[in-house]
Symmetry: C2
Subunit: 199 residues, 2 copies
Amino acid sequence: MRDNETHMSSPEKRTAGPGRPRNFDEAAALQSAMHVFWQKGFEATSLDDLTKAMGLSRSSFYATFGCKQTLFLRALEHYSENGIRGLKEVAETAADDPVDAMMQALSDPKGGPRGCLLVNCITELAPHDDKVAEIGRRHLEDIEDLFAAAIDPANPDGVRDRASAYSSLAIGTLALRKAGLPAERIARTLKQARTVLTS
Amino acid sequence: MRDNETHMSSPEKRTAGPGRPRNFDEAAALQSAMHVFWQKGFEATSLDDLTKAMGLSRSSFYATFGCKQTLFLRALEHYSENGIRGLKEVAETAADDPVDAMMQALSDPKGGPRGCLLVNCITELAPHDDKVAEIGRRHLEDIEDLFAAAIDPANPDGVRDRASAYSSLAIGTLALRKAGLPAERIARTLKQARTVLTS
DNA sequence: TTGTTTCTGGACCGTTCAGTCCAATAATGT
DNA sequence: ACATTATTGGACTGAACGGTCCAGAAACAA
């Protein structure tokens, strides 16, 4: 993505009528694409990577998703929605210490060493791509909101700043993971920092 | 960088002798290259970008630096050395509260919204490139060492974990910056978190 | 079956990429 | 001045990129 204004050919709306129906699941394809972007980043992901992972021909790809950039943004939205919903569930499930549970979930995401797709994309693209920055900002704010809601209401001092600190801390550990530092040490760090930040 | 094993043609050692001397400063060229990588990342930086910024012809470029990948690694090393030295100076200068000074410096680096070159590269490349991961790991550990040394010796409990928490926190805020969150809010968050983490 | 509509694979296009190569040039020692 | 050596710019290469296009196959309604 070297340029903000891409060709952006939009997928023509096809009238539903008689004729061959598509034999792939658009949502599943989107999910697959998301995983590729997650693993390789935007620039390093080629159309061959995408079509192969999605099980689509190039034609179907462009007819359905328009262009790489459009698909990418949809994948980011998809990731964000799923991630925030999952994080909310984590907080609700671990009602005894939702903040700690959220920190663990953020720091050790299901994506494994791939980290958080949106944090990756913020780092790679946000400074040069407004749309990515926008989605990223909203994602981060959603996370902060969840932290703010999970913070013990008996300790309401500087809730917003503490929520921000929690998410920054968790996000920061992703870089440590990616650099190859042992997960065990990171978890311990997080645990310790959390007990201190609570007070 | 789609592949770990690149062509890696090494720059032939030129015997010093009579003949035209090079009329550019290798260190300055390296510095310029570093800034380009810092701004655009590895993948998005083309050789034209590099040669233009460095003021070199393609021939001189390859004769001097071998290949893009090699230059890149040298730029990372250069950045790390400079950064760690600068951070150490920050800590020594602000002797009253070196931890706070370091956090500020890390969170609001001279690179501005570009964040930290090494954190960017860890995010973009470390999972697929061992050498980058190695340099990044060392950089992060150096930062942690500086924090550990700066922590009040009257409070020696869990020094290592606290140092790790400080750097994670500072590094995490870089993502917030890149996503476009206002610097003022981030600084406030950091300040508040720091006062709590000290206790 | 026939007609219609949509999907599919692969060929194709123009651009850009990292890297190579060479004739011309410029700075040195003698 | 001359021979020597390294630098320089720019042309070039082969591969990979994102995106387009089309002929044919496949699935529906009738």
